[in-house]
Subunit: 223 residues, 2 copies
DNA sequence: AATGTAAACTAGACGCTGTCAAGTTTGGCC
DNA sequence: GGCCAAACTTGACAGCGTCTAGTTTACATT
């Protein structure tokens, strides 16, 4: 019958995880479709943007029928949530306040790490924090959990600094966490969206940001 | 909703069609369609969100044919740009750094003004600063001009403080403008999108923000 | 007052989208 | 070997943005 060999199954992403699977001929049951869909979706997202990612194109990219993806993701939102979750997984390996100490130099490093992640993964970043998913409660429960875990990790790092008296004791750790995260997030968004066009200013902005944070955290200063 | 809402003649006209009134017989040429479209678009945007705003529904709301809006807006992007521009017009009347001075109390007021605008007009705010329009250079020239004017107004206010020696002279006014705007923007986005769910924390976050700004601007402190 | 033109508006069509319903194939368990 | 549920298929529907070609009208020129 129809035993065609189809070589297009998201190989580019397959080398990320050294799967020793050799794609044999196409069978009715794919066997690994969810993974392939997720990988292809991220790859399409990165090259064509969120506008260019449709369920139908995604299905085609995995060489399955239009509606096959719906057996692995309830709807498009769930697919996007899965992508965002993948983003948070990567985020936690790239940006972690627990690896630094409250000092001007390390605050600068942290700021740069955050911005580097956001700018290198801008389409995914937008999904992670954008209104697309968060507004009107369309986030998966597991995405919500993971996202809050990311923030909590940051907040507790700062709380630890506070408890260890490494930062100004007049600062409320939670409030500072919320507001400083806002700064990092806002800068990322403005740069990603091209509202701040001048890419050369990024370094200077990072330095200003680190200074701003330190001027608040510095235990040697009293207000 | 809020105080700046405009009269909505488009909807009023919608009511006419099933009440079959004799007056204001619908004529082929509308006469004021662009204004009505823009008003209705904003109103739909506010109630149904960006997802609920389609060119076809907008046309129907103004009781004209599907394609009539295209005689007043080249495409949907141009319509959205016009909405965003309207947003900036309102923004400049609500949030203006020139009206305040660099002091803890006034910084707090300014922060609250900014957040109030963002939260009261969240759908419009998202259009003003979101990736929808800014990414891939799909902004109207006139929108770009107006948006940059808004930022420049803020930046020059801070530059004036600097020149008048009202703030710490070690601070670069432009960099501070960029980063502090980022803080306000980031906080607005996180609150709008519901990533930070706790609405009660807003006041405390505003205070923390104002403190953060002042700890950097305070001329009495040296780093 | 008649005429010509351009602007405002219309209906029809195209290709795209997300997703539902109903039918087909198949791997794995009894 | 037989059965079931999961994986996958085609077909269909309503909605979308927007192009094209045609119709109606306001208005300036004669």
């Amino acid at each position: 019958m129809n035993n065609e060999q189809e070589p297009n199954q998201g190989h580019a992403e397959c080398l990320l995880q050294d799967t020793s699977l050799k794609t044999s001929k196409k069978s009715y049951h794919h066997g690994d479709l969810r993974t392939v869909l997720l990988d292809n979706a991220i790859s399409i997202l990165r090259t064509d943007g969120i506008q260019g990612l449709s369920m139908r194109k995604l299905a085609t990219s995995a060489d399955v029928s239009r509606t096959a993806p719906y057996h692995h993701f309830k709807d498009k939102k769930e697919l996007l949530c899965a992508i965002a979750e993948e983003g948070f997984r990567l985020f936690s390996t790239r940006v972690d306040a627990k690896t630094i100490e409250p000092a001007p130099a390390t605050l600068l490093i942290f700021t740069k790490q955050y911005l580097e992640f956001a700018l290198k993964n801008k389409e995914v970043y937008e999904l992670m924090f954008g209104s697309e998913l968060w507004q009107q409660h369309s986030t998966t429960e597991s995405l919500k959990t993971r996202a809050h875990a990311s923030f909590r990790q940051y907040a507790t790092a700062i709380k630890d600094w506070h408890e260890d008296k490494l930062i100004n004791q007049a600062v409320d750790p939670l409030r500072f966490a919320q507001v400083s995260w806002s700064t990092l997030h806002g800068m990322s968004r403005l740069l990603i969206d091209g509202v701040y066009v001048d890419g050369e200013a990024i370094d200077a902005m990072c330095e200003e940001t680190a200074q701003l944070f330190w001027s608040q955290l510095n235990p040697a200063v009293s207000f």
